[in-house]
Structure formats: C-alpha cells, structure tokens
Symmetry: C2
Subunit: 626 residues, 2 copies
Amino acid sequence: MTTARQDLDLCAALARQLRADSIRCSTAAGSGHPTSSLSAADLMAVLLARHLQYDWSNAANPANDHLIFSKGHASPLCYALFRAAGAITDAELMTYRKLGSRLEGHPTPVLPWVDVATGSLGQGLPIAVGEALAGKRLLGAPWHVWTLTGDSELAEGSIWEGLDHAGHERLANFTAIFDVNRLGQRGPTEYEWRVEVYAARVQAFGCEPIVIDGHDLAAIDDAFARARAADRPTVIVAKTIKGKGVSLVENKEGWHGKALDPQQAAAALEELHAEPSRTYPTLKPNVWHPRATDPHRKPAWKTYAEPLATRKAYGEALEALGAARPDVVVLDGEVSNSTHAEDFKKTAPDRFFEMYIAEQQMVATAVGMQVVGFVPFASTFAAFMSRAYDFIRMAAISRANLRLCGSHAGVSIGEDGPSQMALEDLAMMRAVHGSTVFYPCDANQTARLVGLMVELPGISYLRTTREKTPILYKDRLDDFRVGGSRLVRGGNRDDAVAVIAAGITVHEAIAAADELRNELRVRVLDAYCVKPIDTEAVLEALRATGGRLCVVEDHWAEGGLGDAVLAALSEGGVIHELRAYAHLAVRAMPASGKPAELLDAAGISAGHVARAVRTLAGERPVARRA
Amino acid sequence: MTTARQDLDLCAALARQLRADSIRCSTAAGSGHPTSSLSAADLMAVLLARHLQYDWSNAANPANDHLIFSKGHASPLCYALFRAAGAITDAELMTYRKLGSRLEGHPTPVLPWVDVATGSLGQGLPIAVGEALAGKRLLGAPWHVWTLTGDSELAEGSIWEGLDHAGHERLANFTAIFDVNRLGQRGPTEYEWRVEVYAARVQAFGCEPIVIDGHDLAAIDDAFARARAADRPTVIVAKTIKGKGVSLVENKEGWHGKALDPQQAAAALEELHAEPSRTYPTLKPNVWHPRATDPHRKPAWKTYAEPLATRKAYGEALEALGAARPDVVVLDGEVSNSTHAEDFKKTAPDRFFEMYIAEQQMVATAVGMQVVGFVPFASTFAAFMSRAYDFIRMAAISRANLRLCGSHAGVSIGEDGPSQMALEDLAMMRAVHGSTVFYPCDANQTARLVGLMVELPGISYLRTTREKTPILYKDRLDDFRVGGSRLVRGGNRDDAVAVIAAGITVHEAIAAADELRNELRVRVLDAYCVKPIDTEAVLEALRATGGRLCVVEDHWAEGGLGDAVLAALSEGGVIHELRAYAHLAVRAMPASGKPAELLDAAGISAGHVARAVRTLAGERPVARRA
C-alpha cells in the first residue's frame, strides 16, 4: 500500500503542529514533558489524521475508537492532539498544568476524551487490553483500541501481563504503539534502540510485532493499516528519537520532563516552521450501537439459615446478579473456586473472565471494562489485592466504578499461614479516595452488600472470610446500607461496654457478650461498613456505655477498624467521652494453626474480648492493650 | 554426559521418599498441597542429591547455594527435602501446619534453610534474581541460586521483571526451574503443557531455556549440570505431571491444595513403595568466604543551612553512607535523579543498582540482597511504592531488613498531578508489620534519619518531599530517634493549641504559629517518626493545651498521621482529654497547580492551620473538619 503524497503532507503538517503545540503549552506551564511528546508526534499525527475513528463532537459515541496514552507524561502531545481535533481551543491548551485547568500534568478523565488516568507507567496498556477484551467478547464492537506506550515502561511486568492476555485472547482489536525513543528519565533505557529485543518479546507473548521507523510517515501509515486489519493483537515497535524535530533537545540526555524556556521555545518553533495552530479533519466512526441487552431485573438473593462462609455467599450473590444484570462482569485471579466467584458462571458464563494469577491485569481489565459501560466485580485473596494497589490507586484517579472482593481475610484462615492472610487490606482500601469498604459477617448480609455494590459509584471493596460463619441476620435484610451498622447484642441506654467488630470478630464479640450475659450488659455493634463507618451508631455506643468501647478486628492494629472508629469519634466531636478503650487487633506475626487457635493467639478471640470487656467495665480508663 | 545407573537409582529412591513424606505430612495436617509437591519431586530429588551444594549443618555457611521455593505452596516437598537432608527430624516433619511448628503452611525464614517467605506467587523468582545479582556483582561468590517456580505463577508480570533483569545482567549463577504441571488451582493453566511458549519467552527475555521431561531423572541431571555450567541465566522448563506417582490424583483436576485422607494416603504410600524415611548424602560447598570489606566508618553527614529538598538530602546521605559503609547498597526505579539516590554513585558506583521502572523487582532485589548480608536502600516516587506493596508485605513475613524511600509525597509536588502524588503511602507503610515510618521536614533531619535506618531491623520507610524546605534543625542533630519528635514552636505548659505535623506541613504549621504569635501560644510538634509515634510528646501536647490538638498532613485523611495520633492517645489511655480536635488532610481529588496553590486547595496550608487553631482555641469542642 502506498499513501498519496498529499495525505502524507497533511500528516507532516499536523505532526509539526503537534510538536509546536507540545512545546508551546509546556513552556507556558514551565513544566511538562515536551521531548517525550516530540518522539511520538509523527505516530500520533498519522493516527489522528488517517486511522483513529473518533467522533470528537461526542466522546460518548459508542462507535468511537479508544486511545490511551499509557505514557501519560506525554500529555502535551495528548492535549495537542485534542486541540488539532478541535475538541479544545488553543486558549484552553495554554491552561496546561494550571490550577483549575482540565489539562492536568498527566491525563485524567476530567476530560471526556480521556478514558482513564495515566501517569503511573505500565497501566495504560493493560487497561487498553481490558477495553479490547470487552469490545471483542462482550460487545462485538467495531472499534479498535490504540495505546501509546513508552519504552521505559516496558520494564514493568504489568506490560507483559497485558500482552499475555491480549495474545491469549487473540484481541485483534488491540494495538500498542511502542515509542522506542531510547531515553528514559535518567538516561538510556535497558535496551535503548534494540527494537529486535522488544519484537521478539512481543512475538513470544502472542502478539504480532510490526517494527518501523517511527518518523517515516508512510511506514507509520502502513503499520496502522496492517494493525487494524490483523487477525491478532499487534504491537507497532517504532524506533523514534526523543525530542525529534528540535535540534536543541533531539536525542539528548538531561531533557526528560523539562520544559524549554521561552527563548528556547521560540527558536524551536522557528526550527519547526510552526504555523498558527488549526483544526484538522478527522475520521468519524460508522454508526454503531451495542445490541440492546435484557432489562435489569431484581436479583433473587438467596437467604440462608445455616452457617456459610461469606466468600461462598459472595459467589452465590454473583450468581444471582448474573441472571438479573446483563451489565455485570466478573473477573478472578485464578482462585475462583476459593473466592467462589466461579458461581457466576452458572448464570453468566460469557461474562466471567479468568485472569489467571495476574492481579494487576485483573484490576486493569476491570477498569477498562467499566469505561465501556460494564459493572465489574474482581476478586482474589484479599492479601493479593496488595499486588494491584497502584492500579487501585490510579483507578480512583480515573473515577472508575469498580467492585473488588478480597477473600481469606485475617488470621482466621488458619493453616495456610501469613502469606495468605490479608492483615493490611482495610488500611489499604480505606486510603483509596472515595472508597467504600464492607466487611460482612454473615451470608445474608453479604448478599445484600453485593447488591449495594452494584449500584455504587467509585471503588468499593468487600472483605470476605474463609471459614463458615453462623447466620445472624434473618430479617430486615433490606436495611444494610453504605455507612450502616447493626446492633447484634445489647442496645439499651445502660449497656456497660460496647464492642465494635466486623466480619469474623462479630462472632467472637457475640460469644463474649453471651459468656458475660449474667454479669454485664454488653452491646455488640457489627460495623459491616468500615468506610464510611456509621458515626451515629458509634457515638450512640459511646453514650450508652458512658464511654467504654472495645474494638476487635482481624487486621493489623494500624489503619483498620480501630483507626476508623477513633476517626469517627473525633469527627463527631465527642472523642473526649471515650473514657475507657481497648483495641484488640493482630500485633504479632502469625503462623499456621487452626482458625480458632490463631484467633486466640492473636488476642482477638471471644476469650480475649470477654477479658477486655470486664476490664473496661471497671471505672478507670484502661490502656489500649487491655 | 551420562549419569551412572546407581546415581539415578539413588535419586529415584529419594524422589519416592520426597513424595511419600509430602503425602505423610500433609495428610497428618489435614491440609496442604501434596499434588503440587509430587510434580516437582523428581526435580528436587536430583537437585538435592547431585547438584545443590549446601552445608545442611550450617545454614549460615556463606558458600552455600541458595534454593527458593517460589511455588511456596509446595511446602510439603520443601520440608521433605529438609528431612531428607537431615536438617529436621521425621517427628518435626509431622508437625507440619500445626500451631507452634516451624513448618508453616508456606515456608518462612523461621526455618534457617529458608531464605525468604513465599506463598504469594511470583515473588520467589524475583528475589532469587536479587540474590544472584548480589552473588555476581557484589560478592563474586561461587554459589548458585536455584528457584522452583510453578507454571501458574508465570502469569505474574513480576516473573518477567525478574527474568528481564537476570537476562540483562547475564546472571549465569541463576537457574529457575519451571514446574510445568499444567494444572493451576482451579483448572488448566493458560498454556498447559505448551512448554515451547514458555521457552520462547525465556529466550526473548535473555535467559537460556532448557526444556526437559521433569520426570526423566537423567534428563534432569543433565539439565542441572548444563545450568550450572552455562554462561548466562538458565531456565529449566520441565514438563511434569501434577500428582505424579499416585494414580488417585495424577493429572487430575480438583486436587489442588487438598490433602489425601488417611486411607487414600495409605494406598498412595503403598503405590509408591514407600520405605521408612532416611537421610540422604548431600553435597557440601567448597570452603569460601567473602573477601573482607573495609571496616565501617562513621558517616560524614553534611549539615545544611540553606533550604534544600529532603529528597536531595536523602541522596547526599546515601553519598555519605557509600563512603562509610561497604555493606550498603542502593537500588532505584529509574528515577534516581528525582529521588536523588543517584548521589550514592559518587562514592559507591559499584553498589548502585539501576532497576529501571520495575518496582516489584526493585523491592525483590533488595530483599534478596539483604539475605546475603547487604544493607539495601530502595527508592522511587512514594506513589509508586504502591506497585510493590505485596512484595513489602511479604518482606515483613520474610523478616527482611529493608530500607525504602518514597519521594514526591503529597499534593505539594505541584504540577504533575495526582498520579504522581503519594497520598496513601503512610497508611500503606504503617500497616506493615514491625515497620518504622519516618517523614522528615528538613535536610539535617533527613540525614540523621537515614543514619538511623542503616541500623534498623525490619522494614523502614522514609517519605521525602519534592520541594525545597527551610532548615529547622541546626543543633541537637544526634537527638533524632525511632519514636521521637521535636518541638519546633511553643512548649510551655500554657500553650493554647498544639499542631502536630510532619514533613511539608511542619512548615505550614510554623507559618501559622508565627502568624498567630501575638494572639495565641501555639505549640508545633514535628512528628517526624509517624510509626512508632512519640506517644509521650503527643500526650504532653494534649496536657499542655488542655486537650486542643490539630493534626495537619499531606495525605488522605485515612491511615496517616491523624490516625496515628488518635491511636497514640487511645493507647496512652488519655483520649478522653482530647477536648477539641481538628484534622486537616487531603479529602478531595487534587489536580495540577503550584505547590502552594495545591496545599491551600487541599486545606492544609498555613492559612487553614491558622483558622483551625483559632477555632480550637475557643472553648467548645470542634468537629473534625474545622
């Protein structure tokens, strides 16, 4: 295929403009990454002018291609592209990186043409894989997913998780563009311009490599055409020059993430023969709408009378959702027979995605799928959610609606030992912006919390337990809510002590209360919503007991339920009424043993709760480790 | 090379014993992963009998080879190996997974022959790469590093980060053994027995693949010999059968992580022709000691009078350490000109390790290097430490001594935007067992905290700031300590309000105190040690002010300094004296802007502190968001 001369001339003019605008906006900002933008300007010019099928007047057009800047620091180029497409004005372009501007230092979905936030390298590509997977397997969509990837980020394992999945799922609608400009932030990359190394890896991971000179417009044009026509995922491995087009910075070290000063910028614009920026013609997609799905129905939650693990109830809730909600998708990290996410397959096998042991790719795929309208639930052992923490953090910046479930929380898992015990997940998930953190203690409650999660914006997290737990809730099952809690023992104005617990420790607290029944009035609060915690109920527990609280949790002492309770009391302005407080949490490294043995060894069993309560019932304030 | 018949017979007998013991101990425990052990029994038998050079009477012998079970769930096989080597008795083997036993569900360094905890898949191999890197580049050691890797964990990107580094560094002393038994936890792996897929990937990542039948003893023997003799890293891709040797479970789904019941076990032992377990001869290493290093000297910390970013002070402290401490190594994730870890190269270029943008591999390498006696410091942007959270969590279980530094904390980084801002790192690092969390506010303090970190056991974390900050500390520079704090304003018994801050907000708090100078006596406490926090100083601040505290931090409201302060008050048994409290923290998603603008927009600038202090100085208790 040969490209007409005039088409290439247009691309060349556009590339000049993209370079000039990348320099102009970053120089105005006094910061940013112009040289990382310049290396990819030819690639993006050809993509925008001749291959990207995108309705710039309607970012919500379901037929639009998707473009993710995995190298988010090339935001000047990204915004220059938006300006060339007519999506933003020149005036807005010049607000880059200023307070109040939509044009942040790294792209975020504050801009309607940005699918997801990038800037933590190695994430855009995996998310693009998730979009492509949804496009192929769920939507049968005509659109193509393109992602511009830096060469520095090829050192991230997550890139290879992404390409592995793209290859394994044979995602022909996926194209990554490796901008191999040889220079990272602090110097040469691991493999510099050895594009053959990347090509061999791409091939070995099941994708088709297309190696080109990333400044040869005809070669680029040809590569994009081949990529769109290929029957498997493609990776355009483009050898490029950082700072290309501006001799001051071209292929020079020491120019990463540095704006040109105004004088340098003026010289650069002259060297580029920059003309006033204008809007370029682009390609609209053909009209396409996803096929209408079945209407939503009310999920038929099971109700339970016999002990069941909350992880099993999670699976069965997904099963109910599968039948009722055609937009729900479920992903799992090769442990679906443990998290019980596999139950979803009973009602919606086509919407279950096996992500194998690749937690980063699992979360990335979920993020990508919610971009194109799905409602993802992703699960693994709660301990292994820590593997994807950077992806979860970034998902919050992406304003993603994401539902995560971590099973096998705490020492109560027993024999498998500490590597499998999540003891930091509450801390981790509380510190995610806008998150909701649930920790159910019985099967009926679990089902209803899953029901809440379906509708929740932002990132929600459900912590489930390995062991069977008794059924506590047989009525008022519609009462569970975000920011809620439930009284399971006591509730009088003259309770002696209140125990605040969640999940497995609710049962320990109940056993303690029952043991003390003839001795003390013990209130037990099931704080199933750890964030936002039920401040009202915590305050009420404080007042009813004259300020005697015990928090017991199967989690490290830091960042979990205890911290949440104290924060609630302080926010409520009544923390000075907390006269006696005990915080039972895991404080020593656990080992293996039976669940009951480990709960006891960690000091969070019923016996320990009872002892703490007895102490708290005395007059004097107690120290924390009661 | 052909192996003598009698040698292979010995290996076969040993393999039978390893299988029998794997079944015996897991059946006694009632849980565990016998089938995952059986697939690798032949591999490990040949390794133990004929290739592993290990002094089982002295795990601390520096000449010992290293063996890491990356597939930690094959712990029955690991412990059976120890029993065959005579390291543990048969009686101890039978304590597997019981409370109080050293033989936990997944191996931990509670056992002297275990280098690191495994059980979170995809971590053992990267850590083995770190050991090999230290062996080659730092020690010139004769030992070889072996790691047994499952095929399920090959889906983890971290495996490919590891092999990438092994290949790039040409670590001929490294051998991974891929136990390709085709079956994961819940069913077939992504590529089942397509060993050619793995071999191509290994090759593309710069390592030498050796594909064998993992049950052919002669082929195994030959492969290990080739691996040890190779001039580059090797990966033995062994096609194996899960449950091999026991027809009930051989190559069967549904047998992952499940012990045989006693009757099934008895039949299995009969099928295996199991004999009473015995100790086998093993190979000792030749005598070798690392060359003596220069004695430790007292580091010559710089002292500063002019404003300097704490990240720069970190770099210069490393520079001082490089000259004084021959055991210190520094690793960085391709941002050493931002974290300033690059300054270490000025004094110790051979002990600086560029890990490129592979944070998981960076932490894994650090963990591996501390196993063989080095004192690692590893750095990247604090936000990207979240990428390695699972590795940090596991490092705590490994009882690793690890020093981490995260730069560019909080909104105060300015224009780069939220993807680069760490706002959850304090929460994340507080919830690491036994961790120490430092957050300095000036350059002199930073140097001294780095000095403390060198000597600290466990995992310590230093949070540094992008922007220059004024020098606060010109004297008593030896006073900084774990669990310490410093008063920087006020300190009288009649202070009106105390502001507790750390890092960048110390300067905001000081500005507020100075602004209010003629109006109110404001105490400002620099809580540079966030964990363990200086409980005494917090209590003193409480008492001096009649219970009026303001906490201000450049971090999400959850899990950081605020939570730490409230936990300290509760632990001190005096939280009821907290009559008026304000917690200024980041509560809305930040964007781009100048540092001062963003501090103000987040409500944590001097102006906001001053307003909160004024409110707190009033009589009535205030709500949290003062």
